[in-house]
Symmetry: C2
Subunit: 400 residues, 2 copies
Amino acid sequence: MRPHPFVPVIPAGGAGTRLWPLSRRSRPKFLLDLTGEGRSLLQGTVERLASLADHPPIVVTGTAHEAAVREQLDGSGLARVVAEPSPRNSMPAIALAAALVERERPGAIIGSFAADHLIEDHEAFARAVLLAREAAESGYLVTLGITPTHPATGFGYIEVAEADGGHAGPDLHAAGGRGALPPGAHPVARFVEKPDRERAEQFLATGRFLWNAGMFVVRASVLLDELAVQIPSLAAGVREIAAAHGTDQHQEVLERVWPRLTAIAIDHALAEPLAVDGKVAVVPASIGWDDVGDFSALARQLREHPGRAVPESAESAPSEGGGRGADGGDVRVLGSATVDAVSSRATVYGATDRHIALVGLDGISIVDTEDALLVLADEQAQDLSVLVARLDQRGLGRLR
Amino acid sequence: MRPHPFVPVIPAGGAGTRLWPLSRRSRPKFLLDLTGEGRSLLQGTVERLASLADHPPIVVTGTAHEAAVREQLDGSGLARVVAEPSPRNSMPAIALAAALVERERPGAIIGSFAADHLIEDHEAFARAVLLAREAAESGYLVTLGITPTHPATGFGYIEVAEADGGHAGPDLHAAGGRGALPPGAHPVARFVEKPDRERAEQFLATGRFLWNAGMFVVRASVLLDELAVQIPSLAAGVREIAAAHGTDQHQEVLERVWPRLTAIAIDHALAEPLAVDGKVAVVPASIGWDDVGDFSALARQLREHPGRAVPESAESAPSEGGGRGADGGDVRVLGSATVDAVSSRATVYGATDRHIALVGLDGISIVDTEDALLVLADEQAQDLSVLVARLDQRGLGRLR
């Protein structure tokens, strides 16, 4: 059987706070070049997916970022940009793309991937997507589960169902006529929210848990039909918008329907309830994935990848502190700042022409922008959101 | 016997590098308000000494800083400013002041004190100066020796001679007819350069070592007569300049003589050789002295004194790191910056209107200026000079 066409979907919305002041409301993470490779995370995502796609990826973004997204992508001609009038979480965005695909290319399979993650191993990713498409052809909602490398507490987990004979367990056969899963894909028992450290360690010990990276591959019509069961108004709404697409009524329909759509994440709207019914499959993937979720993750990325390193070892004064003398330090720079350092392990994001001097730092990230300066200990990177949240209270909302 | 008048001398020169970029060549430490009390170190020094003086303190500064010094002091009318045409270390500056005093007020006693140190206990300082004046009346070069509080390696030390009967040992009686020392003043055995840690600990164990804070009290004519023995041309030179002071020839004499004066520190020119001859006395002083020599010292000062504290404890997120959770942090701010912090012990010098955010820092100093940013671990504060020294190599000499 010839496979159905594959159309990637890239929801590009949401302004996180954990990379502030590098990312701002007006310049979210997906628009930033966080690796120093000369392209934004969005551009990298589009390029990676376009090479696997039968039709250009659909980028769904907010009107606030539409112009910036078009500016980054229009030159490439690789993607199609769809603007959502207001942010309503991931389910309406993905469902809208699914409805457009369902209408334009019946039977097509979509794959939804975040706009602001990094994937290092493109070949392994391509293989995982191919396998996920195969499972999706059989009617499953298929997710790519990242093989965990440590007991992370910042991600949700996917529990693989215990095998019971063949690849498809009994629950699956009960799941409305879906076919057997291809080798390498497994039924999902459940999705689990971010655990604490102890539970995360238990998860890893079982060998049956994978990280939920929010990657879903599914036939567009399956997604919408299942959504019609879970949240009928949402499925009907996006199908109505898609039906009006390209017509004179498009704008009117969009403005009438969109604000009424349930704002919900795809995990809660579909993945979790369908997993209970055995309708979700997972393809374990070791693809060098990183969500670059905070400055700790970004520092790790820049240590392993490009950026610009400050060659300080040769010039360094002998270190008097313990532990850092051996390597003389390691400073990575993203941006155009001039940086000089003594005995420092640090990451610098320099967006000004200020000279930056570092002495004796160990695991520190520095973000130097025109209106805000952040100095952060990487190991407490997750606490940054506390500070960003209270900018408004302090009358500094303009900095967000 | 009525005591001779006391004239303080304040050499205000030298651009250190250990408080860069807060201090610059064009804005040395003594011109800065480092305590947040609304006055510079120089202003504080002048005020402190003026209250003990019979005539206004003489501030000797370089032509490069003369205007700034006059601007800070002229309003007060408390000091007299003398400009040296070029920096030639401390001995010529102090000797010139001594020569002016010798000429204008025969028999007067001068006291030379750095322009950029802090002294907390003004009463104890006043008592020590009074005792030093008394010893100086007997013809000694008298220094105030700071009672050490820890085995510092950043200061020179003064070794007190072992008592041998009375207050004045046999060497002293041999020292050209000087009188007995008053109780509380002691003969100096020798001056010692900055020791390493081990020697510093040995010094403290003996109980006979004091920190050399570069404070000297001496009759002006004694200083010049002794200098005439050690470096005749230097004594003759400053006496020639003083003789021309207030006459038409002043500028001509100054420009001819000054460049030829030996550039040397008072320690090497006078204190060390005179100690060998038993002509130096020391008054031990516990006066809350601090030379605020680097950012580590400054951070300690700001923890103990004014500045502005960021009240973060109440708002802080629960700390996940060890050790810092209990107090929630302690952030001190000097300058006008808005600062917000989570679980941080840090010191911020904010000279811009940038918002500064800190997360999880422990013992970090941050200096934010328009053209340079420093982030430094207090425990390695002494390494800063390495970075400043190579600004020139990097074509950034304008930042010094």
